[in-house]
Amino acid sequence: MTNIGAPVYLEEKLEEISRSGRLDYRSKSLPTWCPGCGYFSIVESVTAALNRLEIDPCETTVVSGIGCASRFPFFVNTYGVHSLHGRALPVATGIKVAKEDQTVIVVGGDGDAFAIGGAHIPHAARRNIDITYILFDNGIYGLTKGQASPTSVLGFKTGTSPFGNQDRPLNPLMMLLSHGASWVGQAYAGNPGHLSEMICQAIAHRGFSYLHVLSPCVTFDKTTKTYKNLGMMVRGLPDDHDQSDVMAAMHEAQKTEQPALGLFYTENRPTLGDGLNEISRRSQAGS
């Protein structure tokens, strides 16, 4: 049974969006993703978050690698770098070290992050560089038309794994927690309200924040991480979850059959920028 409720008129909705200021953050390029792709709600949530946090588009740089998710910078009206496969984090590191006052957001997919770009994640996390990493996890390589990724489930049949994926999927939340990320959360593209809230918090966090977004690929995955399956699997974190307890966060992250949405772990500690400023201060003081 669907509750229809009050009618929504297109003109009124457009007027409301226009007034909200959110469109200032959208570029004139229309997203090139497949209809129904989970990524639409991510771009929507990021622009809403930037608007809500009142961050000027010219004070924001969005950095990506290569993949479906990585086309993201073209669809927002901020500064952007659409870099190379796997290299979004080091490019973003260069930007943030050079220009501390920019809000730097990195977006990318599971292959970009955990296969080719895997070497960079531990170091971004341990340095606690003040950037936000939004990871779009659909468990598949979409732009190359459907091959297994580091988060594909066991047995998943794809173009490069016709007899089923043999490699155990990574657990990104466990990895980020052990790498020392100072903000680790999970959201779901099928729950845009929560997603938007999580993106807001992730950007507002001072330090390296990692938001894992479960997001179905409607074109190349009709069997595993679909809206239907994910919708039945996801749950909230327990009410008494202690966000400052890394062991509790890891305990929750282990429950991959029922992925929890919410903020797993957060801590406040000096950022890379703080450290570099301290080095500068010490060297100028001559010690």
């Binding site: 010219c58 170091h123 570099l276």
Partner: protein
């Protein structure tokens, strides 16, 4: 004793020992003292890749009154701290040169293993009790190397207090006893040397006077690169340690924070170069340094820098390759990679300094050019240039132009900023994050003027044209000597075309053959890509034959010249891991000048 100089004006000293003997440290004190006195210096150390162990170390220093360009093939003094390593080098000591060695070794020496049995008839032996003197000064044998330096200083009548000052500075951070012990050891060696009968010489002449407007510093190529970066007001540096480039990063790690700069050691070379592209995108003056293996990893990101048109500078110090190759040996074999190593056809600017002073200039100018032409610039050194010391006169005034960027004006209302606008000079006005109303995304995808992905045939042609033509104009960049000819003017029998560190040896060879009556000039090419074809072509017009000596097996520069100009050259290639021997070049020039048709044909 024919040709015996009364007062030496050009002295080359080689210290040779085993790793752990303090060979390099002895050479360091010697060259620093001589540079401080005001002499010209060229010094180069050879050492094994292992920190400990029994590998061979040689520290060679050439001290002269006038500027010279390379080490001499023959040393005037060989000082052995370990005969087993030094004996094979006896042959490089000239006639009536001095061979100094331990005369009272610790243990019994097997027949044929002591230096005294290996000297050539005309060489002058000096047996010195390094170990005993060291023990007398400090109750230990660790200071043999300092005794050795003292002995040479005493033998040649060099000022004692000069060395005391140098030793004091070298151990400045250490407890006072360290300096005292070293000076005591030095003095015992000095006294021993001073009372030794000087067979061949009456000492070394006093140093020349210097102009006051220059500060003369002794530094190696990497240090000159770091100073160039600092003079050019570098903002950010990202790097990963690799021999022989590491010292660039180490110097900057110390100096940049004092000046408000930021340096980060990244997780690998890919992230280092990706970070400088990110930093360059924000308008930060950014650089990295690496060697061949690191450069191989960087090529993909450098392609991004080319197509996204981001200024950044990559310092590369070549070593023996391929793969891990010979990390502590010199070679010029990464030229192809530096010029051509990229996916797709992106041209790249490559500068190759030929001496230590050139390292300083190229480092600073690389930033100017990167910003002016909005592109990655490689400055290509090699281990020989990175590690060799020269006394360099640096200008007191900052020689670098730091406002080379062509900035964009804010577009009118309704107009979008075009990051890749097609312009008559092929350079699109820049905007950087933080500037309002100029937001854009740079990309490694082919794009239109706005920077939006676009793979239409006309667009790829237009953008490829823009990127290539833009770089060609860099040949005329006013502040840079892209090539220069030395020696005979006009028509010559042999022309030597050279690049990088080998140019010093070429210059020495050219000077020598001219004295033998062969007309010869040598041209250095500093800008390797894009190649200054007009200058090279004019030079080749004047030469009967052109010789390209370089330290790689295939003749990579020769191939680039022949491929670009379509004219034949003669290759001279060595892959010994050491600088090219001047005599090899001289011999080749003599053969070419004598015009042996059979050999010429084979070479062409």
């Amino acid at each position: 004793m024919a040709n015996r100089p009364q007062i030496l004006t050009d002295m080359q000293v080689s210290f040779c020992g085993s790793a752990g003997d303090g060979t390099i440290a002895a050479g360091d004190i010697f060259k620093r003292a001589m540079a401080e006195a005001g002499y010209q210096i060229i010094a180069f150390d050879v050492y094994p890749p292992e920190i400990r162990g029994f590998g061979k170390c040689i520290a060679r220093t050439r001290v002269t009154f006038d500027q010279v360009y390379s080490l001499k093939p023959q040393s005037d003094v060989l000082l052995s701290l370990d005969d087993s390593h030094a004996i094979p080098h006896v042959g490089e000591v000239r006639d009536y040169g001095a061979v100094i060695y331990e005369d009272r070794p610790m243990a019994t020496v097997e027949e044929g293993e002591h230096m005294s049995g290996h000297l050539k008839p005309a060489q002058l032996p000096y047996g010195v009790s390094f170990r005993e003197l060291s023990e007398r000064a400090t109750s230990g044998a660790r200071f043999r190397n300092i005794v050795a330096v003292g002995f040479i200083a005493g033998l040649y009548g060099l000022p004692r207090d000069l060395f005391h000052r140098t030793i004091g500075r070298k151990f400045a951070g250490k407890p006072a006893e360290v300096t005292e012990s070293n000076i005591a050891a030095f003095d015992l060696g000095y006294d021993d040397g001073a009372k030794t009968f000087q067979v061949d010489i009456n000492g070394f002449g006093p140093p020349p006077k210097r102009k006051k407007s220059e500060k003369v510093l002794m530094m190696h190529g990497n240090s000159a690169v770091a100073r160039g970066c600092l003079s050019a007001k570098i903002d950010t540096f990202f790097g990963y340690p690799i021999t022989p480039a590491t010292s660039i990063m180490e110097i900057l790690a110390k100096e940049m924070p004092k000046r408000g700069g930021r340096l980060l050691q990244t997780e690998d070379e890919i992230s280092a170069v990706a970070a400088i592209v990110g930093a360059g995108f924000t308008g930060s003056r950014s650089a990295t340094s690496t060697s061949g293996p690191g450069l191989a990893l960087m090529t993909e990101v450098m392609g991004l820098g080319s197509i996204a048109e981001v200024p950044c500078v990559i310092f590369v110090s070549q070593r023996g390759g391929p793969s891990t190759g010979m990390p502590t040996k010199t070679e010029q074999s990464d030229l192809n990679l530096a010029v051509r190593g990229v996916a797709g056809d992106a041209q790249r600017i490559v500068l190759a300094p030929t001496n230590v002073e050139g390292c300083f200039k190229c480092a600073g100018i690389a930033f100017e050019i990167a910003e002016k032409y909005q592109t990655p610039v490689i400055v290509l050194l090699d281990l020989y240039l990175s590690n060799r010391y020269e006394a360099v006169a640096l200008p007191n005034k900052n020689p670098f132009k730091l406002d080379a960027t062509k900035w964009a004006k804010k577009p009118g209302k309704g107009d979008a900023y075009q990051r890749y606008k097609l312009t008559p000079d092929f350079i699109s006005p820049r905007a950087i994050p933080g500037q309002q109303g100029m937001q854009h995304t740079i990309t490694g995808l082919e794009h239109n003027e706005l920077g939006r992905p676009n793979d239409q045939p006309a667009m790829h042609e237009a953008m490829s044209h823009k990127r290539h033509e833009k770089l060609k104009t860099a040949i005329n960049y006013p502040n840079l000597t892209t090539s220069k000819r030395f020696g005979d003017k006009g028509r010559v029998r042999v022309g030597v075309l050279s690049w990088g560190s080998t140019f010093g040896e070429c210059l020495e060879a050219m000077i020598t053959v001219r004295k033998q009556g062969i007309t010869c000039s040598a041209m250095k090419v500093v800008m390797i890509s894009p190649l200054p074809v007009d200058e090279i072509s004019r030079f080749m017009d004047d030469c009967d034959v052109v010789l390209v000596p370089e330290l790689n097996y295939e003749g990579q520069f020769a191939s680039i010249v022949m491929g670009t100009l379509g004219r034949p050259v003669h290759r001279l290639n060595r892959v010994t891991g050491t600088p090219m021997a001047v005599n090899d070049i001289i011999e080749e020039i003599q053969i070419l000048a004598a015009d042996k048709p059979k050999r010429r044909k084979a070479a062409e």
